[in-house]
């Protein structure tokens, strides 16, 4: 029996929330995001704005050049998170098989429900709209891949300046034919860059993929080739899985005043790294992924992460990785509002020892000694010279 999978995607989510707080925005061309002076980007834009060629992720300054009357609304992220949680709660009333993939998107497996899938979608859309006033589009299909594409195509068929609130159903058995005429960039996982590569090889439409034999595809796309062939036929056996909240240890600092001083920023990162390291060691855990979070003064927030060859619980490794990630994003003088460091992909503490480099063992001995002193005499008993300056003038969040 084929499955019934829904993909729910809130329509212009941030804008829809803003309209709730300021009804005068309704029908107007407006966008949320950073200010044009601060090199901000469009995080969401109303459908009226889209008619003027504005789209999300576009630099705000460019958006204003395209349409100078565009209203720029400062984003209220806390509200978005709150509403997102409420939407997900409504979805979870329907089924526990929910996989949230971003703040405004989720998959649902409703195979076990007796109603027709489209009917379920219609009811859900209505309920979210009636309860929260938020419009959404839903793709209905037999798997995640097709449901996601259904939403995208459903939305793209909509024209006009109001919300699409699309529901598109791709019946089981019609997947391949549905996909065949679609441009290659509609395939989930193929971004603009890879789409270029496909086009260069003469693959313009998703159906074109099926014209080539697997070995040829393997030559060009390597391991991805057999997936590609399956996807081009609309085959996707992945389950809707509750995404276990990433187990991670992290900490962040919000500055009282936006800070652009390299040394102070790095010292903050060092301080947070030490805190994270201490917490990991305290729980006898290690993590393989180091992550930094940076919030710019315009509230735009980015996270960057890197996976290490071996898990770590050492301040030094965390700091060195986090500061490298940070410095890739930061330009001298650029101000920062918040900075966070986290370690994820947590597991048991293990380490492949090295024959040539004994820094792990040395650092471990040092940290063991420091942790023991902190345990006995408190946090201020001993600290690294580099941290001895008082930097408590910033709020520790």
């Amino acid at each position: 029996m084929s499955r019934k999978i829904l993909h729910v995607d809130l329509d212009a989510f941030f804008c829809a929330v803003e309209e709730k707080f300021d009804p005068s925005l309704k029908g107007k061309a407006f966008a949320t995001g950073g200010s044009p002076e601060g090199r901000g980007v469009v995080t969401s834009c109303s459908y009226a704005a889209r008619q003027h060629g504005i789209h999300s992720a576009m630099p705000m300054i460019q958006a204003l050049r395209k349409y100078p009357e565009l209203l720029v609304v400062r984003g209220h992220y806390k509200d978005y998170t709150d509403f997102s949680r409420q939407v997900m709660a409504i979805i979870r009333e329907l089924t526990p098989l929910v996989e949230q993939i971003s703040i405004d998107e989720a998959f649902l497996d409703v195979t076990d429900l007796p109603q027709e899938a489209v009917e379920i979608a219609r009811d859900l859309q209505k309920k979210i709209y009636d309860t929260l006033g938020l419009p959404c589009s839903i793709g209905v299909a037999s798997n995640k891949l097709m449901a996601k594409i259904a939403t995208n195509i459903g939305k793209s068929r909509h024209t006009g300046s109001n919300y699409p609130m699309a529901i598109l159903y791709i019946p089981p058995g019609t997947e391949k034919d549905f996909l065949a005429p679609l441009p290659i960039n509609e395939m989930w996982g193929i971004g603009p860059k890879s789409a270029e590569r496909f086009r260069a090889l003469g693959i313009e439409k998703i159906g074109d993929i099926l014209k080539y034999p697997l070995p040829w595809l393997q030559q060009h796309f390597g391991k991805f080739a057999s997936d590609l062939l399956e996807r081009a036929q609309g085959i996707d056996n992945r389950l809707v899985e509750e995404y276990e909240g990433v187990k991670s240890v992290s900490n962040e600092v919000t500055f009282f005043e936006d800070l652009g001083d390299r040394q102070l920023l790095l010292r903050t990162i060092r301080g947070i790294s030490e805190k994270v390291g201490r917490r990991l060691r305290h729980k006898a855990l290690s993590g393989k992924t180091v992550r930094v979070k940076i919030r710019w003064p315009n509230f735009e927030t980015i996270t960057r992460q890197i996976t290490l060859p071996q898990p770590t619980d050492q301040d030094k490794v965390i700091y060195e990785t986090a500061s490298t990630l940070f410095l890739k994003e930061w330009k001298p003088g650029k101000k920062v509002r918040l900075i966070g460091v986290g370690v994820a992909q947590i597991g048991d503490d293990y380490q492949q020892l090295s024959l040539l480099d004994h820094s792990y063992e040395k650092e471990k001995n040092l940290l063991d000694a420091l942790d023991a002193l902190h345990e006995r005499f408190g946090k201020d008993a001993i600290q690294k010279g580099i941290q001895s300056d008082n930097y408590r003038s910033w709020k520790d969040a």
Partner: protein
């Protein structure tokens, strides 16, 4: 250029050289294979500037000449040709190669052979003769221990040292070291000490055919290259510059616990454990348990949070104190696959110092592995 070759030989020759083609090179001629007449034979060459491979095949040559042809197109085409005789003819004016076979007739555009990087010509008299089968065996026992980490180029290579008639290969990725010694039949005058990319040695092992054939290694002075010459093929590789770690200082000299264990049983235990261990961190724990007045046993255990756990016990001859030590199971499997004797010696000191594996009754191979630390 005008000649006839056998389709099978041409396909084989292209298979030999095509691994040196750099498919994504910005220099178009490096995507090509050089085809040239060479003293009554047909020469095929490819290079990515780090590694170059040449192969000679028999041909009936009517007219001398040379051209370079896109490697993929040529190889794909040759592999599908129907007949057994292939005629190749160069049209100099258009620099295109006409390929005829049975009723197939193709014209492929090439690039002037002058643009192809010249391959060095080895002075074979100054070379060292190595037995192909022995040398391949050495490469197989050592090469895999080299690092794949591009950040540490020296560790991507295999250190080759020859003094008089003593030769050694060593490779390390920082976590393990493989060392293989051998005796040459003839002593050489000038000692050799070079770091050869492990990948190049791997390719050499691939193209060197077994039998009693020899390979002649030439290291021209100050060229940063090594050339391996065989009857029908030649491989040129750039050498890696830098200081190879002083591995002899790292190899432990004494051990407290000495375990002699069947190589197949040891490998079987590792393979079984890996089924679970690969789901986690590849950790295998060895509980080495000597027994008073009799053989002891090694208990191999593995566990993964998601998959479960396992335990295999193998009898072993153990001298010395009991020890619990953890290793990366892949490191163990890889060395056990090349040990080559029915029994293996595992020598250890403590759970945070290196362990050494070597074949029983064969002093020429040593493999040292650093354990894993478990918190």
């Amino acid at each position: 250029m005008k000649l006839t070759v056998s389709q099978a030989q041409l396909a084989h020759g292209l298979g030999v050289v095509s691994r040196a083609v750099s498919p994504r090179s910005t220099l178009p001629v490096l995507n090509n294979i050089l085809i040239a007449t060479d003293e009554g034979r047909l020469r095929l060459s490819a290079t990515n500037l780090e590694l170059g491979i040449t192969c000679w095949i028999g041909a009936q040559i009517e007219e001398e000449g040379s051209i370079t042809i896109p490697a993929r197109i040529f190889a794909d085409l040759v592999s599908t040709l129907p007949g057994d005789k292939v005629s190749l003819a160069l049209t100099v004016r258009t620099q295109s190669l006409n390929i005829r076979c049975g009723t197939s007739n193709f014209d492929i555009k090439g690039i002037d052979a002058q643009e192809f990087p010249p391959m060095p010509i080895p002075d074979l008299a100054s070379g060292v003769e190595l037995n192909v089968a022995d040398f391949k065996d050495m490469i197989r026992q050592v090469g895999f221990a080299a690092s794949a980490d591009e950040a540490r180029p020296v560790l991507q290579g295999v250190l080759m040292e020859i003094n008089e008639n003593q030769m050694s290969l060593a490779a390390t990725d920082g976590f393990r070291i493989a060392v293989r010694n051998a005796e040459l039949s003839n002593a050489i005058a000038n000692p050799v000490k070079v770091i050869i990319p492990a990948r190049s040695l791997g390719e050499l092992a691939r193209i060197a055919t077994d039998g009693n054939e020899t390979v002649t290694m030439v290291v021209p002075q100050d060229r940063g290259q090594a050339i391996f010459h065989m009857k029908d093929a030649e491989l040129v590789t750039q050498l890696i510059e830098g200081n190879f770690p002083d591995y002899r200082a790292i190899l432990p000299r004494t051990f407290k616990t000495r375990t002699i264990i069947s190589t197949t049983e040891f490998l079987k235990a590792c393979r079984q454990a890996e089924i679970i261990a690969r789901e986690g961190n590849y950790v295998i724990r060895l509980k080495i348990q000597p027994q008073e007045g009799g053989p002891g046993a090694v208990e191999f255990t593995t566990q993964s949070e998601e998959m479960g756990s396992g335990e295999v016990v193998v009898d072993a001859n153990i001298e010395g104190p009991e020890l619990l030590i953890a290793f990366n199971v892949r490191f163990l499997s890889e060395v056990l696959e090349v040990i080559g004797t029915p029994n293996t010696i595992l020598e250890t000191n403590a759970n945070n110092t290196p362990g050494m594996l070597s074949p029983v009754g064969d002093e020429s191979y040593k493999h040292v592995i650093m354990p894993m630390h478990l918190g």
